[in-house]
């Protein structure tokens, strides 16, 4: 499980990891990123937060209402998140199981319409654009079916960035 692999990580390692990810979006080389990139950075560090979680983090690290986040503010907050394993990755078995639950008749695939219905309804649903994109990625046949086992394989699952 994720926890075991991470127990040898020192705080210094974690700092390096966070800084590396942060700097990829630091276009002006002044240790600042646009707040809108924070979700990408958090996800890429192996976390699986909900939208609500993300809003909370952004609120904590944004410089007032400037729309920018400084590394000095982000680093301690994100370090804590990682040390606490606050948003652990969803194990691949859970993803598969999730698909299986949606596939009530156990067909091995889901129809475009079905998937769309579930993903765009309650909770923190997909936007139309996200739905469209996901379907473009997962649908590879003319019949409009998502073969979810393939999908999980395709999108890969290196949720934990070493």
């Amino acid at each position: 499980m994720a926890e075991n692999r991470q127990h040898t990580e020192t705080v210094s390692d974690i700092h390096k990891k966070i800084t590396t990810a942060f700097k990829l979006f630091d276009y002006d080389a002044n240790n600042t990123v646009d707040a809108r990139e924070i979700s990408t950075i958090v996800f890429s560090l192996g976390c699986f937060p909900s939208q609500a979680d993300l809003h909370q983090i952004i609120a904590e690290v944004e410089e007032g209402s400037s729309g920018y986040v400084h590394l000095d503010t982000f680093l301690p907050v994100m370090t804590k998140v990682l040390l606490e394993h606050r948003f652990p990755p969803i194990p691949v078995e859970h993803i598969l199981r999730a698909f299986e639950v949606l596939d009530k008749e156990n067909k091995g695939h889901l129809e475009e319409g079905e998937l769309t219905k579930y993903m765009t309804e309650e909770g923190e649903p997909f936007t139309n654009k996200e739905m469209e994109e996901m379907l473009a990625v997962l649908l590879n046949n003319k019949r409009g079916l998502v073969y979810y086992r393939d999908a999980v394989g395709l999108l890969g699952f290196d949720g934990v960035m070493k």
Binding site: L24, I41, P89, A98, A136, L155, K162
Partner: protein
């Protein structure tokens, strides 16, 4: 609270929430990969350009250090030689097209001069339909272009009067698709639709010559409404490395060399910049803290043929006709003023050229990112000594000079002004430092922009030179706009292109696009994922890593004091960065670059190199092979310079001499015997000549993971 709930409930909505989160994570990861893929391409692109300038340093070194009596003289003069000694009139005879017959079977366009707009549009259509313009017409068109360009000033001045909107395009790099797309969206150039093309028309893409022919034909039809600025790739020595030379010689097998020679002159006659309404400056690279539009307006731009060659001898005879003297004569004749041997007798100025030489000479692909503070400090020191040396040489120049009474301008200084214009990049910090990433020009800061614009009473600089993901980018408080018009530049889907419209209000209006015929071939899935581009970038990166095998192993050993052959991930990343200096997120890339990781996360670095290995020619010492591999681009460029008749072969003797010179410069321990042995081995059929392509092919890494071509070579499919 769904996220931490692991109970086995079967509520589909909750499950869907998990899927949603999983997918969003995937998108974020993809975005991250897109970013570092971009970084990889860019770092390597710039380090390639840096290597190019270092090639110049090598050639300069040759000229400074080999006396006329030495046997290497032939090879060196070979490298620098102008083919003929003649006046412009004699050049026109050399370029004469009249004897070239156009065969009946030719199905391309026939041009008559003076050119009409119908013919220009016809040419566009022909190229769209993959036709090629016959060499007779190509030469004729180029000759007319040359004649026209000679009459233009160094700096074009245009205005948006009569409510004309001016369209400005950035780098095109031989990507005909993008030019066609721009003309489709925006209309072709006309009296109502003036255009400025901001350099880098050629190299990398596969239709460079077609782009030139189109731009030149519209220039001839509408000389007051089409403006061309020179880019750093409008340079025949750069073209040797980046594909344009090869493209022309392949498409025009018989007359290619003449076409290239004529283009060499045309490039040197391209204007350096364009000013719109006296308020907006359009140029290819950028500015420096010493950029002086007055100096730039006055100099003889055609004397500066290449970024990599020192200023030509300026011998303005009384008739005012410029003379293309044989550079060879220049070099060895000590009584001439501007020849480079003179620099040997002065203390070498610590300008950019020397600072590269003083770096690790084992490694052409030296440091890329430098610590800003250190850099500013040492550059200040360098600049002052450099300035001192320039002043001294200027003094001596004026002292010795008897003939060039009219010139008070220092050609070295003028050359630097042009280099700055064509090669510089903006940075976010204040100040001005040498551009070590590219190897030419400088990095300039917002304060420099501010001062420059105030001094010249201008409000905006529009430049190109750097690829941007969105095709454009503002910086320096929106006073500098970077414009890049070659979409999908690094690989399919890597970036958009953009052009700008400027009306009398001088507010830039940006239009973006992306050439789609390539993307149409991709499936929807491929378009949204980053896999393909990423694989190309990683392949290129692996080659770079392999080329530094010895240095990397040294670095690993420092971390592996107990000689276990293993290093941790952290140490691996630190070691790699310390050698490669590419400032890439190595820890993130590790899983993509190293497959032989053990379960506890340590890396066996010897195994790793085996993974990267390639099959080079047999019986050659491994370390020699590695050095050859590392400098293969430089070697290839030199070979192509030597191969003056473009046969694709060079003699074993030339190969030997080149390699010997290179090894001296690199301070390598290589015996004559080693080199001879190498040459003999390469000349496998023993006929005294070496096939350049075959030699280069030997160094293609056979990647076990993927057999995709390098990202950059995809657009360059030579027939």
């Amino acid at each position: 609270e769904f996220q931490n709930n692991k109970t086995e409930n079967n509520f589909p909505l909750q499950r869907a929430q998990k899927l949603i989160r999983w997918y969003r994570q995937y998108v974020a990861r993809t975005e991250m990969r897109r970013r570092y893929t971009w970084h990889i391409f860019q770092s390597i692109e710039y380090s390639g350009e840096q290597a190019q300038i270092k090639l110049y340093n090598f050639l300069g070194y040759l000229m400074d250090n080999f006396t006329p009596a030495s046997s290497e003289r032939n090879l060196i003069s070979h490298i620098f030689r102008e083919h003929e000694v003649c006046l412009d009139a004699e050049w026109e005879r050399y370029f004469c097209y009249k004897n070239i017959e156009v065969p009946e079977v030719y199905s391309g366009p026939h041009l008559t001069f003076p050119l009409t707009v119908e013919q220009a549009v016809g040419l566009l259509e022909a190229f769209r339909n993959k036709k090629q313009l016959h060499s007779r017409y190509a030469l004729q068109l180029l000759l007319e272009t040359w004649k026209l360009l000679r009459m233009l000033p160094n700096i074009n001045r245009i205005s948006t009067c009569q409510s004309k909107e001016i369209t400005i395009c950035g780098d095109l790099h031989g990507q005909l698709e993008d030019l066609l797309l721009i003309f489709y969206k925006n209309g072709v150039p006309s009296l109502e639709k003036p255009y400025v093309f901001n350099g880098d028309f050629v190299d990398r893409g596969k239709d460079s010559i077609e782009i030139l022919l189109i731009l030149f034909s519209f220039l001839l039809v509408y000389p007051c409404d089409v403006y061309l600025n020179r880019g750093n790739h409008e340079d025949h020595l750069i073209n040797l490395r980046y594909g344009f030379t090869k493209e022309v010689l392949t498409k025009y097998k018989i007359h290619g060399k003449r076409i290239l020679k004529l283009l060499q002159k045309i490039f040197s006659w391209l204007p350096l910049a364009t000013v719109i309404d006296q308020k907006v400056l359009v140029l290819h690279g950028g500015i420096s803290d010493t950029t002086d539009l007055g100096v730039l307006a006055r100099l003889d731009r055609h004397n500066y043929v290449s970024a990599m060659r020192p200023p030509k001898k300026r011998n303005s005879s009384s008739s005012g006709v410029s003379i293309d003297a044989d550079l060879e004569e220049d070099i060895w004749n000590t009584s001439k003023i501007f020849q480079r041997r003179a620099s040997v007798s002065y203390p070498k100025p610590l300008g950019p050229r020397d600072c590269f030489q003083n770096r690790s000479l084992q490694d052409f692909s030296g440091r890329i990112k430098v610590k800003m503070e250190d850099e500013l400090e040492s550059s200040r020191r360098r600049e002052s000594v450099y300035q001192l040396a320039i002043n001294r040489s200027e003094k001596d120049v004026l002292g010795v000079s008897n003939d060039s009474v009219t010139s008070y301008d220092n050609p070295k200084e003028e050359w630097r002004q042009i280099l700055d214009l064509l090669w510089s990049d903006p940075m976010s910090q204040d100040g001005c430092i040498p551009n070590e990433v590219r190897g030419g020009g400088c990095y300039w800061g917002p304060d420099i922009t501010e001062d420059f614009l105030n001094k010249h009473n201008m409000q905006l600089i529009i430049r190109s030179h750097e690829c941007k993901q969105e095709g454009y980018e503002f910086c320096h408080n929106r006073k500098v706009l970077t414009l890049f018009s070659a979409s999908n530049y690094y690989d399919v889907g890597s970036n958009r292109g953009a052009y700008v419209k400027l009306g009398p209000d001088l507010v830039p209006y940006v239009i973006q696009y992306q050439a789609s015929s390539l993307t149409r071939e991709l499936t929807a899935r491929q378009r949204y994922t980053v896999g393909r581009t990423e694989r190309s970038a990683l392949k290129v990166l692996r080659e770079q890593l392999f080329a530094h095998k010895s240095d990397l192993i040294c670095a690993f050993k420092k971390f592996d004091k107990e000689a276990t052959g293993l290093v941790s991930l952290n140490d691996w990343a630190s070691a790699v960065e310390s050698v490669m200096h590419l400032d890439l997120p190595w820890r993130m890339l590790c899983s993509q670059l190293v497959s032989c990781k053990s379960s506890d996360g340590t890396i066996d670095y010897n195994d790793w190199f085996n993974e990267l290995a390639f099959k080079g020619p047999n019986h050659i010492d491994q370390s020699l092979l590695e050095t050859l591999y590392r400098h293969r681009s430089t070697l290839e460029t030199i070979f192509r310079i030597i191969d003056t008749d473009n046969s694709g072969f060079i003699t074993v003797e030339d190969f030997r001499q080149t390699w010997k010179l290179l090894s001296v410069y690199l301070k390598m321990e290589i015996t004559d015997e080693d080199i001879s042995h190498l040459a003999v081995t390469i000349d496998s059929n023993n006929d005294g000549s070496i096939d350049i392509d075959e030699f280069m092919e030997a160094f293609r890494l056979t990647d076990k993971k993927s057999r995709l071509e390098r990202g950059r070579s995809i657009p360059m499919q030579t027939p």
